[in-house]
């Protein structure tokens, strides 16, 4: 518990926590406001006007969450890699091990703190997204009556829970990659490469890629057939897993990533 609380304190003070969350909220805000402003123009083509769905409640709830999972997934892999990699780069893992701390426990509790931070980040980003979407709706002159749609509101806790788990999963992937690389920069680089590599692979291997971590994460909260916004806005439409099926895959990736990170740390020769 001491390690978990200490890790949480470290993450709260860490600039990367705020920078990544700030960029995510900034991009989300920029897109929602830009879409609302352009789609509401009288001479906007029909395709562009469809963008208003992003700021139209209650559908905006799932759109915002999908965005957070899409681009947020990339940020989560970077975040997980940054935290795990810096433990090796800065030598702080070495200091903990030299004090007799359990390597596995240190890694797992450090990641537990990351998972909690990701959860808080998802909540803050989701809240900010709703506020911005309401502003966007007002700019576009779209009704916000759907904001209090009881049926949709009832599904949000589960969606947020699934979204959190999915984001944690890709965070764990970054954590494992950086642990294997023993480096912050190498971990971040490899995490980003994995993200874009998976997007690129959808062109050739869509049946396989749907089981890969980022696609499975997106599918956890996606409604069947949904494609665009959940992958950051530009990904190709691919066959997705059913949400519950995706949930199992996400948990498998999460457990696998943590297992790899822990086993590697347990057996690693720590130097530097």
């Amino acid at each position: 518990m001491r390690i978990f609380v200490a890790s949480l304190r470290k993450l709260v003070r860490r600039p990367a926590s705020f920078v990544i969350l700030g960029i995510l909220i900034g991009l989300l805000s920029l897109i929602l406001i830009a879409v609302a402003a352009t789609a509401s123009q009288p001479d906007a083509p029909p395709g562009q006007r469809a963008g208003l769905l992003l700021v139209t409640f209650p559908g905006a709830y799932t759109s915002i969450l999908s965005f957070i999972l899409g681009l947020g997934g990339l940020f989560a892999v970077i975040y997980g890699a940054a935290i795990a990699g810096s433990e090796w780069s800065w030598g702080t893992l070495k200091s903990a091990v030299a004090r007799g701390e359990s390597r596995s426990r240190y890694q797992l509790l450090s990641f537990a703190a990351i998972a909690l931070m990701i959860g808080v980040g998802v909540l803050i980003a989701f809240g900010a997204g709703i506020v911005v979407a309401v502003i966007g709706a007002n700019i576009a002159g779209v009704s916000t009556d759907g904001l209090s749609d009881a049926e949709t509101l009832g599904t949000i806790p589960e969606l947020l829970g699934r979204g959190w788990l999915a984001t944690v999963e890709v965070g764990a992937l970054g954590f494992a990659i950086a642990t294997l690389a023993r480096s912050q920069l190498a971990g971040i680089g490899a995490g980003i490469a994995f993200f874009f590599g998976e997007q690129f692979a959808t062109i050739f291997l869509s049946d396989v890629v749907k089981y890969m971590p980022f696609n499975a994460a997106n599918a956890v909260v996606a409604t069947p057939g949904e494609g665009g916004f959940s992958d950051g806005g530009g990904g190709p439409v691919i066959s997705s897993l059913e949400p519950n099926e995706a949930l199992v895959v996400v948990v498998a990736w999460l457990v696998g990533s943590l297992l790899v990170a822990t086993l590697f740390t347990e057996r690693a020769e720590i130097s530097g």
């Binding site: 001491r2 390690i3 609380v5 200490a6 890790s7 304190r9 470290k10 003070r13 860490r14 600039p15 810096s86 800065w90 030598g91 702080t92 070495k94 200091s95 903990a96 091990v97 030299a98 004090r99 007799g100 701390e101 359990s102 240190y106 020769e269 720590i270 130097s271 530097g272």
Partner: protein, 324 residues
Amino acid sequence: MTTDGLALATRGLQKRYGSRPALAGLDLSVPTGVVYGFLGPNGAGKTTTMRLLTGLIHPDAGSIEVLGRPFGRRDRHRLFEVGALIESPSFYPYLNGRENLRALAATGAPVSGARIEELLELVGLRDRAKDKVQTYSLGMKQRLGIAAALLSDPRLLLLDEPANGLDPAGIVAMRETLRHLASTGKTVFVSSHVLGEVQQLADVIGIIAAGRLVREGPIGELLHGEGEVRVRVAADQVEPARTILGGLATPDAVSDGADGDGWLAVRIGAGRAADVNRALAGAGIFASGLESGSDLESLFLELTQGDGSGGHEGTFFGVAGGSR
């Protein structure tokens, strides 16, 4: 071999990095309650030894005893009584000094908040405790590293180049602190290149070269036994003097002194300067200069950089460079 009364002992410790042996059967015996100076040239295996002693890496062969009990892969709890500063101090740059100590205190043995404040005071960082570590100088980071090593009030302290980056006042303060710790029964194991510092600080030294211990013992005894007497004679008496000095010690213990013409140096106990003078005078050779003494540097160089004539069993000369 008994390890009773030892705070730290290694027997036949071996470690390889690929095909290169870093340690080739290291036998260390560190008595309890002393400052132990651990010396060796670059690449001799000092840092590898420190890593092995703190469980960061694991030996290929041999055994380690920490505070009288075996220390292996499953004995990490033994490190609760050990404090260590390995290589450079490691901290979160975006946290301040106090927060870094708190973060570290969350690992290993429990540490009270009061202990952290006490240590910040001890290392002279209380006024800068709220500043981020990334703004610290090298010396300040080193001081914080020493505070981190002392967090659990360890019975055994392992310090790798602790004087690195410290200013003269900091070095004196560190020396006093370490001496004080030893006087309270704690054991301080210091790896260093700064021989003068070790000579002032250590009670016992161990010198390694090429992964093996080449000399170990109380520093006073080693320096006394490893002394040198330098004598200056007239130029035409150098060769007869060399023969006489060779008879006192061994022929290969006599060499031309580094100070210039007419100087000869003989490796012999520093306390035997009078014997040297008497022997020369007895042969009608009167020295115009006579110096005796020894220092750690001479001993270190003799053991680690000589040509093999030192005759010390297990000595490896011509040590390969490159540290790990």
